[in-house]
């Protein structure tokens, strides 16, 4: 056993090895089953220390993934992503400067505050508003996205060209409000909340109305199904 190498391995496992040495060690790690096994046991040690209960500590998954990979093609840097496959996790890539950590930290605050229910909890909103005000606009958006789940299937298409005809905002709001009295209470809540936060004004598309007009949120609407 090469103590220097193992010491490097331990440091690399902790992300504390300089980049140049990582490159060299990565090569050995990849090829040497003993080193790889030791690396795997380092992970097991961590899992035990964190008392991660309920999971198989010997690590079933690694073996199965390795076996599954044998029938996968090896990657190559030049491999192109097939067109049309959506990156469903795009929402969660951190915005430069703010980072995902900011979103997660703020989410923790939101949830901690929301733990204190009916008895004397303070309003959540001021904290959120203050935080979002402090962040730059894209980061604020990332923060808001972080607070609510993003359903994987819901992709917001790029904003479409708005036509020049604008239906007065009040007209749509009129209909919505007049209709809301007849809505199921849950729907009414959704409806009025959405109306509250909507952009004023809708635009209409002459003749071709299979495409719902870009409307209230400023986004084009994904076509149903």
């Amino acid at each position: 056993m090469n103590e220097e190498l193992d010491s490097q391995l331990s440091a690399m496992f902790d992300n504390e090895l300089p980049a140049a040495e990582c490159e060299l060690l990565a090569r050995r790690l990849s090829r040497d089953p003993d080193i790889k096994a030791r690396w795997g046991r380092y992970a097991v040690i961590g899992a035990v220390i964190r008392a991660e209960r309920g999971i198989a500590l010997e690590g079933i998954v690694a073996g199965r993934v390795s076996a599954a990979l044998s029938s996968e093609p090896a990657l190559s840097v030049d491999a192109l992503q097939p067109a049309g496959r959506r990156l469903q996790y795009r929402w969660w890539q951190p915005i430069a400067g703010a980072g995902l950590a900011a979103g997660v930290a703020a989410v923790s605050i939101l949830w901690l505050r929301s733990q204190a229910l009916p008895d004397g909890s303070q309003a959540v909103a001021p904290a959120l508003a203050a935080r979002t005000a402090a962040l730059a606009a894209p980061a604020a958006q990332a923060l808001r996205n972080a607070i609510a789940p993003v359903p994987d299937s819901f992709v917001v298409p790029p904003v479409s060209q708005r036509s020049t005809m604008v239906v007065p905002a009040t007209e749509l709001a009129d209909y919505v409000v007049a209709h809301s009295a007849f809505s199921w209470p849950v729907s009414r809540g959704n409806l009025l909340s959405a109306l509250m936060v909507s952009e004023p004004g809708t635009s209409s598309t002459p003749a071709r109305s299979d495409q719902p007009a870009s409307g209230v949120q400023g986004n084009a609407i994904q076509n149903p199904k």
Binding site: W39, Y42, V77
Partner: protein
């Protein structure tokens, strides 16, 4: 020195065709990922399936990973999406969207009992591993034990541990390494002596 140099060096190898490097990434993160997925599915076996699926997805998507974020962050999101999809497509069961990493929400089955997910039945090896590691840690000299616990439990960097223990960073690195060595000496027996887990890898 990038904090993520370790993972990135492995990722780059994978992107150039070295599957063995991906094994190393899986070995490092498999427990964390299973634990994460278990917030969405209670059954450990199912969680393992989903974690496996997530790793495969990550492998296939790796050409697009450019290192803008930490590899684990990227992997984490893939795992969550995979878990959510698995639950939603299974039987339209609701998913409790987990926004907080320290979420303590629990779910009940229809009878209102909380599912106990201690050691699943049939995983005697896990018990053995756990007790071996714990015994080894207990018998470590205190400075070694402190160093490894601060690293693995509290997630402190070497620099932070050095500050906490009032010693140089080099000493921290050495202590953690020696702690791991001491534990691994015993752990190796469980692995290699017993069930040949190591054989399944690479």
């Amino acid at each position: 020195m990038s904090a993520d140099a370790s993972d990135l060096s492995l990722v780059r190898r994978v992107q150039r065709g070295d599957k063995g490097a991906f094994d190393a990434l899986v070995l490092k993160y498999q427990h964390k990922l299973v634990k994460l997925v278990m917030r969405y599915v209670r059954n450990p076996a199912e969680a393992e399936d989903i974690a496996q699926e997530a790793f495969i997805k990550a492998y296939r998507a790796l050409p697009q990973f450019r290192g803008d974020s930490a590899f684990y962050t990227w992997l984490y999101r893939i795992a969550i999406n995979t878990a959510k999809n698995a639950v939603v497509s299974r039987d339209r069961s609701p998913v409790e969207y987990d926004l907080d990493r320290s979420n303590t929400d629990e779910s009940y089955d229809m009878q209102g009992r909380m599912k106990d997910s201690e050691t699943p039945e049939g995983l005697v090896l896990t018990d053995e591993i756990r007790s071996t590691v714990n015994a080894a840690i207990d018998s470590l000299p205190e400075d070694l034990r402190t160093a490894i616990v601060l690293r693995e439990l509290e997630g402190l960097s070497y620099e932070e541990i050095a500050a906490a223990m009032a010693c140089p960073v080099g000493t921290v690195r050495s202590r953690i390494f020696r702690a791991r060595e001491a534990i691994d000496r015993r752990l190796r027996e469980v692995f290699e002596g017993g069930l040949g887990r190591a054989e399944e890898l690479g």
